[in-house]
Symmetry: C2
Subunit: 504 residues, 2 copies
Amino acid sequence: MTQPRAYDELCSMLRDTAVLDSAQRVLAYDQETVMPEGGAGLRSQQLEMMSALVHKKRTDARIGELLSACEKDASLDEAARANVREVRRDYDRATRLPTDLVAEMARCSSLGMHAWKEARAKSDFSVFLPWLEKTVELSRRKAECYANGRVPAGGELYDFLLDEYEPGMTAAATRAVFGPFRAALVPLIEKVAKSKAPDELLAHAEYPVERQAAFATMVSKQMGFDYATGRMDVSTHPFCDGIGPGDTRMTNRYRPDGWADSLGTAMHEGGHALYEQGLPKGDRFGQPLAEAVSLGIHESQSRLWENLVGRSRAFWTWAAPKAGEMLGGVLKSAAPDAIHKAVNIVRPNFIRVESDELTYNLHIMLRFDLERAMVAEELSPKDLPGEWNRRVKSDLGLTVPDDRRGCLQDVHWSMGLVGYFPTYTFGNLYSAQFWEAAQRDLPERDAMLGRGEFAPVLDWLRRNIHAHGRRYSAGELCQRVTGKPLTHDALMRHLERKVAAVYG
Amino acid sequence: MTQPRAYDELCSMLRDTAVLDSAQRVLAYDQETVMPEGGAGLRSQQLEMMSALVHKKRTDARIGELLSACEKDASLDEAARANVREVRRDYDRATRLPTDLVAEMARCSSLGMHAWKEARAKSDFSVFLPWLEKTVELSRRKAECYANGRVPAGGELYDFLLDEYEPGMTAAATRAVFGPFRAALVPLIEKVAKSKAPDELLAHAEYPVERQAAFATMVSKQMGFDYATGRMDVSTHPFCDGIGPGDTRMTNRYRPDGWADSLGTAMHEGGHALYEQGLPKGDRFGQPLAEAVSLGIHESQSRLWENLVGRSRAFWTWAAPKAGEMLGGVLKSAAPDAIHKAVNIVRPNFIRVESDELTYNLHIMLRFDLERAMVAEELSPKDLPGEWNRRVKSDLGLTVPDDRRGCLQDVHWSMGLVGYFPTYTFGNLYSAQFWEAAQRDLPERDAMLGRGEFAPVLDWLRRNIHAHGRRYSAGELCQRVTGKPLTHDALMRHLERKVAAVYG
């Protein structure tokens, strides 16, 4: 109750910055879900201006003064010290980026995304190429600012981009996790390829968009997503944004034969959204203790709901009759077991977000290798389609028919998100490790899932993960919650069990 | 091509401010159409902060310096001089408002609107009363700042609020127009009350919301509204916002039996939207020459499309078969004449926005008198419901059943918009006067409307009104376009013809 003034002033500045940043998030959300096409030019100017204003607040020299005062203050409690530690990290990173670079990145992201949409629609890489080149160039400039002239031995520029999304992670450490994971995963995928696949027609039955949306919404509510403080809209590429206290939004997309995909997306984005709604934003809005640890941990929450819950046999005990009731048609008489098998087919796919739990990770490893190579100037952006297609052939055995289903499928690079992709596989790995830990605390978990009782799982996540914000690093959190560092063991155990259940 | 530096710097500052202001408009639009309920608290903080940032830019002392330089610069062309004149007006007004008052008004508007929604839903005036009191108090403080200690003889504080929306207008001048108008209008309404009304069932046939929206959208496209640079969404209270170049948005609302209302709303808001899309925002964004003259002129554009076009016999020659085709049901076999009569019934209604072209103006006169009285402290906000109900009884002959259908029906006061209502009747008066002027230039107009050819009307509006922005004042524009000052003559001629056609 008697925190010294410097700390209070710091928290007040953080809150102001968070309010302005949240306004920028609304603009970005509107851009993806509502804005008419003609608004793109103005929106890029708005985002550029907002981004510069937020950056100015984040790099205000007063924060540096307050941080120095706080760091000397022995009376701060442990929570305050964790906040100070994380604000120091953010401040040092932010002050290394010049304002004009920040503004240029925001403009490039807004216009680049617009160009990417056109390029993807026409499957014409040349429309996007200038923006990809610009994005790689700006990413390198950003990494050089972060590196501040010092790339550690064995390190590379890419590490400073990855560190933005997964603090503490490096390209070398990523390879150390991905390597053994790949070695264990590929033989399992090959084993599946030789097995007879179960019937998957159920997963592709056609339903009107409105009914799919109603079913996806019902399931997200059952998971615990609060629609009084949230929404689910439609966008080209589904995403979630925890805009701020009382306003958490996610998007979905619908195809006539994609009810299983739109359900999976609602559970995936819903997992992100539950994390955002579970962070202690009320009093602490703007403080690191009210923010997500890392994108890997964020993704662990989405993958846990999408894959560990939503693709489990237990979930379908509850969900199959609900699907029959709300979607009707062939699902009316479908057995839980049949749906469970139909939504767990393993088959290499051109599209990352439509991929199964196994091959998905090969997509990530491919993107990690290619973006790392572009940043290291070992791969020229103009050669991306060729290299992409070569890798898809060798990793997934598929011939990419066009760039729309190849290197133009993902929004990330168009938004300037380089160093982001690996966090998806980190999320898969974390999710399985957390799921095993939760099993120990909730021995009746399968029976509860079978009755649609998700509250105990959400409560476990709230207590063990959401409540902490950035108090612990991702590595510390993993160790604390699971008793082990991050490895591929839990995920491989899960995938092997899954394959055994679905493919026999 | 060789405008001096001060003017260029001024225009560049105006553009920056406009970009930030347009971002704020997106937040306000999202609040009304998309935001979840729980986001209200954060949104009020965002809007407060954005409002303060915009106000700071608008009151930057550098603008004052540049204005002084521009005012001495004899080399400026006529357009530049008009910009300088209008920026001077804006700057002087803005610099009279302290930043904390601006922020307080923004917060009061955001939270007040939230309270109003709840009050209206519950029909509980007490929920809104504290916010109304606050709004009146803040309006008085604002007017006092604008008055700067000097209220001219015969003037009053309210004039300074009205002047914000209708530059140059005063309460006394308003009474001078409203008085004779009322004297001419009331006998016509009484005459109608004694006549036998035509069958109105066609106007209340029930249709699914989706079909109503499709019909309203089709008509707005036919009017010339460009959906590549605009949208139509759903909100409690329909409105239009010309957010910026390439992004003009309007809203509608739908009831099962309200196809005629949702069409009228689309044409009304569409009229506003066409004005916004017709202002020369490209190069001039942020300059007065790219801004609307006044709310009265803005409303003239919406009323022209809603009433002069959309309620005309000629329009229904084209629209009746379209309505039959897209809406079906009883409209399939309805004659243009029958629909024309059904959408032109004159009958006193509790609800302003559902009122006919005649009695609508009595609603406005009532609101003008009451808000003026509250600002003058002749009426206490707590006495508003009683006084409102008394006036509705004496003016419209109706007994208000509850505050939801009484003084809680309009959003304006909750948003801090005091002095705004009279502009609706100014708009009605201007629209009829413009329509008579357009008739002289487009003698074949009725035949064109009957074929759904609206482009010549839009083109006439673009050339005579939209293209000028704030180059001329509302009064000058009226004189220039119609050859006369604003009077009730043209509107009364129109209403008398209408009553004769519908009531025989």
